[in-house]
């Protein structure tokens, strides 16, 4: 066990993954500098420039080349520097990575991981604050995971590397160094497709993922202090979604708040809400509340706070569900 933050846990996961000769890490500045977040620090020195590859500034090229490697027997881990820079590489992900298994009926597969730091909250410039996860969640052929703790970060990363299919691995920027916890030094996996029941409670369920788990955690404390019995679910895996865990919880509590940092309209929260009402409409005592970012560009530093879903928003929303 070593106490580490998420950045370090991902680093540890990458180091473990690279022990497999088929794994390569490829992206802009992942080598010499160890990545703009230093997440791949030390890996170039350890595994050499053939396995830890600094690239030209060309996201489509990075994903496409990694895809070619994947269909020819390697297991590439791609890093895109920020989610806002995935868009130029989006065609490769959606048109090729996600489709080759079906297109070739299993003859060629793309067992690759696409790592994307995402989310706002650090006062960064435009394009550095994106939460476009729903685009990947909506794309058939991809799995999408989002750790919110160091333990899950390493475990989900190793599960993603092991997975025979492409996995989009989202790293909440704001959480990279926000929390520390003990992480096993040995390899282990956290299964993809299984949500975590973080807290058990009876009155209302708070559901989220990624950086929003921090706000949810704080809301949990406040609500609990005010006497509300709160259940908390960290979705962890958007695709496949662990519908069962969510529905079971709603059947018990009858109330829920779904939290997403992304813009509101057609975000992943809408899918969670849709599934809740599909499977548990008659358990609902109140409308499921969505606490979300707005349908705006994430504002720059000085007004960013107005965008971000806050602890207080979640607390208020939970109270609203408790009114009816």
């Amino acid at each position: 066990m070593t106490e580490m933050n998420i950045a370090q846990a991902v680093n540890a996961g990458l180091a473990t993954a690279l022990e497999d000769e088929r794994v390569v890490l490829i992206g802009e500045d992942v080598g010499t500098t160890g990545g703009v977040f230093r997440v791949s620090d030390g890996l170039l020195a350890r595994f050499g420039p053939e396995r830890v590859i600094d690239t030209p500034v060309a996201e489509s090229g990075i994903v496409g080349a990694a895809f070619g490697m994947a269909i020819n027997g390697l297991k590439p881990i791609v890093e895109i520097q920020f989610m806002g820079f995935t868009y130029p590489g989006f065609d490769q992900i959606i048109s090729h990575v996600a489709r080759i298994r079906n297109r070739s009926r299993h003859r060629f597969t793309a067992p690759m991981v696409i790592r994307i730091p995402y989310g706002a909250g650090i006062g960064a410039a435009e394009h550095h604050s994106e939460s476009a996860e729903v685009i990947y969640a909506h794309t058939p052929g991809l799995k999408v995971v989002v750790p919110s703790t160091p333990y899950d970060a390493k475990g989900l990363l190793l599960a993603a590397v092991e997975d025979p299919d492409p996995v989009v691995f989202l790293e909440p920027i704001r959480m990279y160094r926000a929390i520390r916890e003990d992480v096993p030094d040995e390899p282990y996996t956290v299964p993809i497709g299984v949500a975590e029941l973080v807290e058990e409670g009876d009155d209302v369920t708070l559901i989220g993922y990624g950086a929003m788990m921090k706000e949810i955690g704080a809301a949990f404390e406040l609500l609990t202090a005010s006497g509300v019995s709160v259940e908390v679910i960290d979705v962890r895996s958007l695709v496949p979604l662990d519908t069962e865990t969510i529905i079971e919880s709603i059947r018990k509590t009858g109330r829920a708040v779904v939290v997403q940092e992304a813009p509101r309209t057609a975000g992943f929260g809408a899918e969670i809400v849709a599934q809740i009402q599909e499977h548990a409409l008659f358990s609902l005592e109140a409308p499921v509340e969505r606490v979300t970012g707005w349908d705006t560009i994430v504002p720059l530093r000085r007004a960013e706070k107005h965008y971000m879903p806050s602890t207080e928003d979640i607390v208020q929303a939970a109270h609203r569900t408790l009114l009816s």
Partner: protein, 345 residues
């Protein structure tokens, strides 16, 4: 630079310089070109009969495709497009797969084990970088396979062409970029596609070797590709080859070329037919006779017929099967959707 395309056989079938191949091998490649044309024409006919979905003819481009693949070894990769059936087949992708694909059946996309041919790229431009990746992986794994990617003149305008060429240049991957400049990208003529003097000139932008070749000349295409393959295998990096050829047919069976071009180009290029050219040469060497030709054509025609019947005999997918290509194992949400689908009447 790149002033005149390399030519080894004139349209009349006269050999210029030395042949890069022995006569027997030329006969074999001639036969392959003939086969490809039989297939191609049959598919056009079948499409008109409603037995195939949209079809993209490659008539006129046989030398570019067969000549390029002739320079490869079995373990090498071929990464091409909807118009590269000749190349794919010659590298081991069965006609029945190609036809299956054209009937509208995903199973056509599955190359036999050991055949490193990717399903044809439908989107333009995105596949070239894959051949950078496959080639790169070969090197990392320590095998000496090279990767050939085929694409058109139009594809060179996509950003992905640029990123692929640039990566190939920086990492010296063993990739052969084979641009079949057939004069058109649907209705866009080559001279409106790019202001570059030739497409071969684009190699300069990436520090990659370039070559311009008569794409209707089997021997010249083979020679240029063989050099590129040898360089790639020797670790000397990638090559961009521009093969000058012509799309004799419509863009696809849904296209009406009379809207954007006269027949002049077609007639002019008919004089430079890649198959007739080799036939004349073989004949002049006493290595061709009409009986052989007829035999090849009829055998190939039968083979394609058989492939068509096989393809058509395959029961279409059941509803259940459409879920089976998505992941190694069907995840819960797809299983749920399968259950929704099953309750359909």
């Amino acid at each position: 630079m790149f002033d005149t395309p390399l030519q080894r056989l004139t349209p009349n079938g006269d050999l210029l310089g030395e042949s890069p191949l022995p006569l027997e091998e030329i006969r074999r490649l001639y036969q392959a070109m003939l086969s490809a044309r039989v297939y191609d024409r049959k598919c056009s006919v079948m499409q008109r009969q409603g037995r195939l979905a949209t079809y993209a003819q490659f008539e006129g481009q046989e030398a570019s495709q067969i000549g390029a693949v002739a320079a490869l070894r079995k373990q090498d990769w071929v990464v091409g497009t909807y118009r590269d059936a000749g190349a794919m087949w010659f590298h081991g992708y069965p006609w029945v797969n190609l036809i299956l694909g054209r009937t509208g059946d995903e199973r056509g996309g599955r190359a036999p084990d050991g055949v490193n041919v990717t399903p044809p790229s439908i989107t333009v431009g995105g596949h070239m970088i894959h051949a950078v990746g496959t080639a790169w992986a070969s090197r990392i794994k320590g095998d000496d396979s090279v990767s050939l990617t085929l694409f058109g003149d139009g594809a060179t305008s996509e950003g992905d062409f640029h990123e692929a060429m640039n990566f190939a240049g920086v990492y010296k991957t063993p990739t052969i970029f084979m641009c079949q400049n057939n004069g058109w990208a649907i209705s866009m003529p080559r001279d409106r596609q790019t202001a570059s003097k030739t497409i071969a000139h684009k190699s300069i932008a990436y520090g990659v070797a370039g070559a311009l070749v008569d794409g209707n000349d089997l021997l010249a295409v083979y020679e240029v590709c063989k050099q590129a393959v040898d360089r790639a295998r020797a670790g000397e990096g990638a090559t961009l080859i521009e093969a000058l050829t012509y799309r004799m047919g419509p863009h696809t069976t849904t296209d009406d070329p009379s809207r954007y071009r006269t027949n002049e180009g077609v007639e002019e290029w008919a004089q430079k037919d890649p198959i007739e050219r080799v036939r004349r040469y073989l004949e002049s060497e006493g290595a061709w006779d009409p009986a052989w030709q007829a035999e090849v054509e009829s055998e190939e025609s039968d083979r394609v017929e058989t492939a068509v019947s096989e393809a058509e005999a395959l029961t279409p997918w059941t509803a259940d099967e459409i879920f089976e290509g998505m992941f190694a194992e069907i995840p819960p949400h797809l299983a749920y959707q399968q259950s929704l689908l099953r309750r359909r009447p």
